[in-house]
Amino acid sequence: MSNIRLTSILKLSLLSAVLAFTSNVFADPVKAAFVYIGPTGDHGWTFAHDQGAKYVKEHMGDDVVITTVESVAENSDSERTITSLARKNDIIFTTSFGYMNPTIKVAARYPDVKFEHATGYLRPTDNISTYSARFYEGRHIIGKLAGKMTKSNVIGYIASFPIPEVIRGINSAYLAAKSVNPDIQIKIVWVYTWYDPGKEADAANALIAQGADIIMQHTDSTAAMTVAEETEGVYAFGQASDMGAWGPTSQLTGIIDDWGPYYLARVQAVKDGTWASSDTFDGIAEGMVEFAPMANMPKNLASWAERTISAIGNGYIHPFTGPINKQDGSPWLAEGETAPAYPDLLTMDFYVEGIDSKYPN
């Protein structure tokens, strides 16, 4: 072997080594896992998260391996599921509030794995991020549409649990509806479940029987939409996704949770080694809250709604702008004042003035 050849081989080896080191920190595909509270077939909350996961796969192709687990109950078993995933994945998304404590426990044991907890608020270790969306911006839009489209002036609201996120939604929808229709009334029914098609359908029927001709929900299935479709003159809104297939003549629009771009950014960050613990609360402006096509309404109303969406996106409209009082009459926001995320919005535990129902507990 000549000296020149040996040198070439050495140079080539050195070059390869340097290239290998300086290229992506993860040459192997990133392994991302998603824990769902319900079935992807709910076409609601879980479906939207799954669409986000699919978005990541679409954009990263072979650079990512995705595992999803459906219908994981919020009990002590979830810790085992999350642990199993932590052993084999680089980043885990736990998509429900009830996974908070198991997520925290597992995160403490697996410091090199990243955890993203949806709708949570605790980040005791630096490998946990929390994220949620300003859904109340979406509620503002559907509230205004409801106010304009209703003939009976009664909105029916199917609510799950009296937690801040749900209360925010109710308040935002009500305020928006009231701003375009001072005679509006809202009836709220608590079903104490996130997903139970039978119960949701019963709740929708009960609300309609009591005079509601617009149905809003903070539950995860398409049941209420099918009831609205069945009933003459009743409209509804898609929850977390476009439920138009279940309500071709009754869906006005739907609030779409668009998790895709956020998920892609986080998984990419793991790949690039730039992931850091964060708290995200994005809305229309950042593209996390989107809408199904406006349908079943006059064209000018649809355009008006689109303009309102842009206005929120540009910051001209904030759904919680004073003067607003609490249900008991005490002042909350002064004229022109907008509600800060913390503590007002994130720990919201009161109805705004004008809502007749008694606050649960």
């Binding site: 077939g41 219908s71 029914v189 104490y192 039978g198 019963d202 029927n205 069945e230």
Partner: protein, 309 residues
């Protein structure tokens, strides 16, 4: 409260009670023959699954309901074979049936959670349905609703107006004596169990075909267990099953409406009432005079029949 709201509430309660009526009337016959089948939940969910799947593939509600009926009978036959021929413990076998039914339906149904089918809630009978008030209240239901009420009548007629019904009841009260007279204890019980399975199957299909056009694991949500309590609540009397089903089914509906009216009774405590009422009824049955034998529990309920030949 205006009348259309009242009508809505009554219709809602009627629809909620139908699956319970089917499942309970079937189990009533089984228990009257002296057998306790705790597998009602399993049979119902299999019916719900089969009804949904068959409807999805064939588009024919009739075939779907038939499939659910046969499916319920099929898995009930496992219970019948084990308890009547292999003399296994009824409690354990019934529980195994529930587990198996729940698991089997979830397993087979895994591909169907994203599908939807045509909802078949109401029918329109010319002229009759259009009568104000009475029309929607009485004449616009899905055929299965009418079938449920008819089955209750049919079971009553069978048990109390036919010879075979009398024999079945006597088997339930004293299987040894009935056997001594020459009645085929095992045969009657097997037929009863199969009937119970068929009814539970239809009851389950009602959920996935009429109430909500969706399939989901565990969509029966404990209705099978409620049906078991219903049978006791009704003191093993067919017509009382309707009363009980309306109460059990109605409580959820009423509780939702109460919220709409902002009536502040805790949902949980209200929901407890039917179960507590069942227990109270059980006690009062015992406290009553024992000479009305058809008002008490079939004596041989749950006991294994040992043929001596």
């Amino acid at each position: 409260m205006n009348e259309s709201l009242l009508i809505s509430i009554i219709i809602g309660i009627s629809i909620a009670s139908v699956p319970l009526i089917f499942a309970a009337i079937g189990e009533l016959v089984v228990e009257r023959s002296g057998v306790l089948n705790l597998g009602v939940e399993g049979m119902m969910i299999v019916g719900a699954l089969l009804g949904f799947v068959v409807q999805f593939h064939t588009g024919s509600p009739f075939i779907a309901v038939l499939a659910a009926l046969l499916g319920g009978m099929a898995i009930a036959s496992i219970f019948a074979f084990l308890t009547q021929f292999l003399l296994t413990n009824q409690v354990a076998t019934g529980l195994a049936l529930t587990l198996f039914g729940l698991g089997f339906s979830a397993f087979v149904g895994r591909g169907y959670t994203e599908e939807t089918i045509q909802l078949i809630t109401s029918t329109h009978i010319p002229v009759l349905s259009d009568i104000p008030i009475v029309g929607p209240l009485l004449f616009s239901y899905n055929p299965l609703v009418y079938l449920a009420f008819f089955m209750v009548y049919l079971v009553w007629w069978f048990l109390f107006k036919t010879k075979q019904g009398l024999i079945l009841r006597s088997i339930g009260d004293n299987h040894d004596a009935a056997h001594a007279i020459g009645h085929k204890v095992i045969r009657y019980r097997v037929m009863a169990i199969l009937f119970g399975g068929a009814m539970a199957g239809i009851g389950g299909a009602f959920l996935s075909l009429v109430q909500v056009p969706i399939w989901g694991e565990d969509m029966t949500a404990g209705r099978g267990w409620i049906a078991l309590g219903l049978v006791v609540f009704s003191s093993w009397q067919p017509f009382r099953v309707i009363l009980g089903a309306i109460i059990f089914g109605g409580i959820t509906i009423l509780q939702l409406h109460a919220q709409g009216f902002d009536i502040r009774i805790s949902a949980q405590y209200l929901s407890m009432l039917p179960y507590l009422a069942t227990i109270i009824i059980l006690v009062s049955l015992r406290m009553r005079a024992k000479n009305k034998t058809n008002r008490t529990m079939p004596n041989c309920l749950g006991r294994i029949f040992h043929s001596t030949t």
